[in-house]
């Protein structure tokens, strides 16, 4: 009887427990999803998970899109970056690219610490970027540079962003001072590509298939002609025009270079001639002259260490291996400037007249 009373008293609890059990069953059971053959339908709302982008390949191409492993300053190249994103390419928001010099082949060097113009260094590191909002840009800040974005071809982006993989192409021209690198067993240039998607997920790839950089060498003289003024036979004269007594050379180079000089012979008035001796002493013969040159001189323009100029090219002493001009980070590019001093020495029996000749200067990648 007592048991019957207890059951009677506890019956509301059992009812409640039964209700709770029935309520909980659907919570533990899996959601029903239709499963049909082929492309299947989903019952309910489903969201994709974000998948980080990845970089499939980074390849250097020339302006006709043939594979290249060597860059040439002031020539247009394309850096093709094949990028994939399983959330489609529309998910890609930013691509940062550093093209940088590395002294140790195979190490891939160290990529710049930032993707801003503070890492820009005309002879060692160029930075470009692509953003979904603004497209391509060169990140050189206020530094004046001969690196360039685009050229004979233009940078490009995938036309169909619904694909999961396609190629971004950065067209660029290396600057004149981009450090020469031999590739192979010596030094090289690397490409670092950093991709970010809309959620901030990133991928990074450093590619350095021993990419080399060709030598670039350009020379400009400060004047197109010089004059030794009026010189008497047996006398010596320095450059009189320009009035600085200097033949200036401005060399733009990304590698060490050598400077050579020579002269035509004979020099002529049209009627009379005089012949170059190729010696650095006053000629003793008739209708002869000598030329000397040096990269040092006094205030009057006379060479410090006079070297003979001959009819064949010969190295100007001290200029056998001139270091390439370099730049610091964020700084504009410059040239390597050399002042040349020259003397003319005349022999005897030279006819009066205005003589014409040519002095050649040759810059060679040393």
């Amino acid at each position: 009887m007592a048991k019957a009373k207890l059951f009677k008293a506890a019956s509301p609890l059992l009812v409640l427990a039964l209700v709770l059990a029935l309520t909980l069953v659907p919570v533990a059971a899996p959601q029903a999803v239709s499963a049909a053959e082929g492309q299947q339908a989903v019952t309910g709302t489903a969201n994709s998970s974000n998948v980080a982008p990845s970089i499939t390949t980074v390849t250097l191409k020339n302006a006709t899109y043939d594979a290249a492993s060597e860059m040439t300053p002031q020539i247009t190249f394309a850096l093709n970056m094949t990028i994939s994103d399983n959330n489609t390419l529309d998910d890609i928001s930013t691509i940062n690219i550093a093209i940088y010099y590395d002294t140790g082949v195979g190490t891939n060097g160290t990529r710049p610490s930032t993707w801003t113009s503070s890492s820009w260094d005309a002879d060692e590191c160029a930075i470009y970027n692509w953003t979904k909002a603004n497209g391509w840009a060169m990140v050189n800040g206020s530094a004046i540079t001969t690196w360039a974005l685009n050229g004979t071809i233009n940078s490009d982006t995938p036309s169909d962003l619904t694909l999961t993989e396609d190629t971004w192409s950065l067209a660029f021209k290396p600057g004149k001072l981009a450090m020469e690198a031999g590739g192979g067993d010596t030094d090289e240039w690397c490409f670092c590509v950093n991709v970010t998607d809309a959620t901030g997920a990133t991928a990074e790839d450093i590619s350095a298939v021993a990419n080399s950089m060709s030598a670039y060498l350009g020379i400009v003289t400060t004047v197109s002609s010089i004059s030794f003024g009026d010189v008497a036979p047996g006398a010596t004269a320095a450059i009189q025009t320009p009035g600085s007594h200097i033949l200036g050379t401005n060399v733009t180079s990304n590698d060490a270079y050598e400077l050579k000089g020579n002269s035509t012979s004979p020099w002529t008035t049209g009627t009379y001639t005089m012949t170059l001796t190729g010696e650095n002493t006053t000629p003793t013969g008739t209708r002869q002259f000598a030329l000397t040159i040096d990269d040092g001189g006094d205030a009057s323009g006379h060479p410090t260490t006079a070297q003979a100029v001959n009819t064949t090219l010969s190295q100007i002493t001290g200029l056998g291996s001139v270091a390439a001009p370099t730049t610091a980070a964020t700084v504009s590019e410059g040239t390597s400037d050399t002042s040349l001093y020259m003397d003319i020495m005349l022999g005897n029996d030279i006819h009066i007249g205005t003589y014409t000749g040519t002095i050649y200067l040759q810059a060679i990648n040393a």
Binding site: A9, L24, T45, V220, S224, S227
Partner: protein, 378 residues
């Protein structure tokens, strides 16, 4: 420049005349503008030629570029310095450059049968041509590059052909590089899909490109008097951007379906009867094969595709594998790697309102039981 010279006769009679002459010549104008502005770059400088006797070497990657950095047009003359039996020729010997202009000049090195084997240095020079100025000492500038040359008396023979997976010839760009001191030096190039070359003994790498994409390469070594035939097989249709993206129910967080995504690249020519099959494995056991794409013709270019996969029997806990296979004309052409997706029974989501309700209900029941027991005792 003006150069006034007198004879050795130093008579006092001549002095006034000489002075007059000097003064008159001093008044002559002199050109003072900068001269030069010529520059040169290019790959010739890095070349390390190793050429057998009787071989002419030229390639698109062997060139120099001459620039006009100045503000006036000038002419340029190309020249070279070579050892006996070796000739250098240029794609252009003489040309003019506008201010800011540039000219890419391709370089060919020809080693005659009579060239003496040995190590040499080559030099090429771009000379700015200047008109001689009457009465002046003109300044003329030039720029030059050097390269190394080794002439060899021994040689070998290489034949390369590019074929499709079905054995048909493919018109491809073939480039042959010699490896010297870790650097690739281009030795020969063809755009026909075949290449034959007399080469120097050594280590080489040959590459095949279609639509500028590297599709095959092979490294090999060849000894003197050896003949070698290389076949490069290229797949001109390939998958890219393949992945499996899981999608989850918003409400429960459970796996709803796996989206298999891919991009199909066709580089070479339209292909007929193309089909893509999705093969699925469950814990390594093949479970399903589904045709996800079927085309009468696959045109050249890129197409993207995706497939939302749900197992016929619903998702089970385990590892699913997904692989795409491309069939052309009913024959397997290429496949992707297998992409994995691990699933488990998704944890039951916590329904905090329900749990709160249960706790409240238990508290109420407890209270009711307490009150009933207390009344009976009373």
């Amino acid at each position: 420049m003006r150069l006034l010279l007198s004879t050795a006769k130093r008579g006092a009679v001549l002095a006034p005349l000489l002075l007059c002459l000097m003064l008159s010549w001093l008044l002559l104008p002199l050109p003072a503008q900068a001269q030069g502005g010529i520059a040169m770059s290019g790959t010739f400088y890095h070349q390390n030629f190793e050429i057998p006797q009787g071989v002419e070497l030229s390639a698109p990657s062997i060139y120099v570029v001459v620039f006009n950095q100045g503000d006036e047009e000038f002419g340029v003359r190309m020249s070279s310095e070579t050892p006996l039996g070796v000739d250098i020729s240029f794609s252009e010997d003489d040309f003019s450059l506008e201010p800011g202009g540039q000219k890419q000049v391709y370089v060919t090195v020809k080693v005659s049968e009579d060239a003496i084997p040995g190590d040499y240095e080559l030099l090429i020079c771009a000379q700015r041509l200047s008109a001689e100025t009457e009465g002046a000492v003109g300044i003329s500038t030039s720029v030059a590059q050097k390269a190394k040359l080794k002439v060899l008396g021994e040689s070998a023979w290489v034949e390369v052909k590019v074929l499709s997976p079905t054995g048909e010839p493919v018109v491809a760009q073939v480039r042959l590089f010699k490896l010297i001191e870790g650097r690739e030096n281009e030795f020969a190039m063809s755009t026909s899909g075949t290449l034959e070359a007399k080469v120097s003994p050594g280590h080489y790498i040959v590459r095949a490109y279609v639509a500028s994409e590297l599709l095959a390469e092979e490294s090999f070594a060849i000894a003197a008097d050896e003949s070698k035939s290389i076949t490069l097989t290229v797949r001109t249709i390939y998958f890219g951007g393949v992945g499996v993206v899981p999608h989850y129910y918003t409400e429960t967080g459970e796996l709803a379906f796996a989206q298999v995504v891919y991009t199909l690249h066709n580089l070479y020519q339209p292909m007929n009867d193309v089909e893509v099959i999705l093969k699925v494995t469950e814990d390594g056991v093949p479970s399903e094969e589904i045709s996800v794409l079927s085309l009468g013709t696959l045109d050249v270019g890129d197409i993207g595709g995706s497939y939302n996969y749900i197992p016929q029997g619903g998702w089970q806990s385990g590892d699913y594998g997904f692989r795409l296979e491309l069939y052309v004309g009913g024959k397997l052409y290429t496949t992707t790697l297998e992409h994995k997706l691990s699933t488990g029974l998704a944890p039951t989501p916590i329904n905090w309102p329900l749990i709160g309700g249960i706790i409240a209900a238990v508290a109420v029941i407890g209270g009711v039981v307490y009150l009933v027991v207390r009344r009976r005792r009373a």
